[in-house]
Amino acid sequence: MSRVEAFLRFLWDFVVGDDWRIAVGVVVALGVTALVAGTSVAAWWILPVAVVGLLGVSVWRAAGR
């Protein structure tokens, strides 16, 4: 493995960690929050709902393996 590959792998493990779905879910939830915040609808609840879904599904899947 080249040094660049090793560094990119380290960066991936460092930021994304064991479950990439969490990282993708957080980015999507932030995007949805920004979109909804631009309307007249309250947007503060979107991240808490995302946290409940992402963490719940992630640990449940990991425990089922």
Partner: protein, 257 residues
């Protein structure tokens, strides 16, 4: 000190203490087995690199517009916090082995003993292992110091909290002259995961343009609710493990109940 600054100091202190315990185990193992001087040189070199990273990235982060900073910091804290919390929940419910400092120490000692002859002068093995150990554990601390500190425009307070945590762990480690196996590492990681996730949600939503009901006071609800949810997950997973291990008849009764 405001509530957010207190949250910053506690989060950084706990996160740094956990990482310092893990780094101390590595340094103690190579120091006791091979060369203290080389191990300490490795620690010093790693601390210099971490300090340089903080000095370069800190001002770069604080120069970003506040909403951009909050979305980036909130998103990263949320990803990082959820990963910490995921591991801590799985460990607390028995689905992942608890981190054992004594076992890690024994592994490091065995590796150090079988790593060949001790070099004259600076021992390359002791230097490299200490350097890598402190750098890798320290990077997580730098990340937390920078994200919390930059967002609060108080990198200094975050750095002081991190420094105090390292000092406490180092003094405790050298007082007992052994790995700090009695530190409740998973409970600390659980706490850090809750704090990172809570602040990540709070700042991420604010940066994206959402306003929390009650403003800063919303954190007083977000932190305990996040903790309660994580503890609820631990209880649900433990119940799932018990049901999976129980005989068929008992499982049927539990489902009917």
């Amino acid at each position: 000190m405001s509530g957010q600054e207190l949250g910053l100091a506690i989060s950084v202190f706990l996160a740094c203490a956990v990482e310092a315990v893990e780094a101390l185990t590595i340094v103690l193992a190579v120091g006791v087995t091979r060369s203290w001087r080389s191990a300490f040189t490795g620690v010093g070199a790693a601390v210099l690199v971490l300090a340089a990273l903080t000095a370069v990235l800190g001002p770069a982060l604080t120069s970003l517009p506040i909403n951009v900073l909050r979305v980036i910091v909130g998103g990263l804290l949320l990803i990082f916090g959820l990963q910490w919390l995921r591991k801590a929940v799985l460990r607390a419910s028995g689905f992942k082995a608890l981190h054992d400092e004594l076992e890690s120490y024994d592994e490091e000692v065995t590796a150090a003993r079988t790593a060949g002859e001790l070099d004259a002068g600076l021992d390359a093995y002791s230097f490299t292992i200490s350097f890598k150990g402190v750098l890798l554990e320290g990077l997580e601390v730098v990340f937390i110091v920078l994200t919390f500190g930059a967002n609060q425009h108080n990198v200094g307070l975050a750095a002081v909290a991190a420094g105090v945590a390292v000092l406490v762990v180092v003094i405790a480690g050298f007082a007992v002259h052994a790995p700090l196996s009695r530190v409740p590492e998973n409970a600390l990681k659980f706490g850090v995961g809750v704090m990172l996730t809570s602040f990540g949600m709070f700042w991420g939503a604010e940066g994206a343009g959402a306003g929390w009901p009650g403003g800063d006071a919303a954190l007083l609800a977000i932190i305990p609710l996040t903790l309660a949810f994580a503890l609820g997950l631990v209880a649900a997973l433990r119940r799932r493990a018990r049901l999976a291990a129980a005989p068929e008849a008992v499982r049927g009764e539990a489902v009917r109940a």
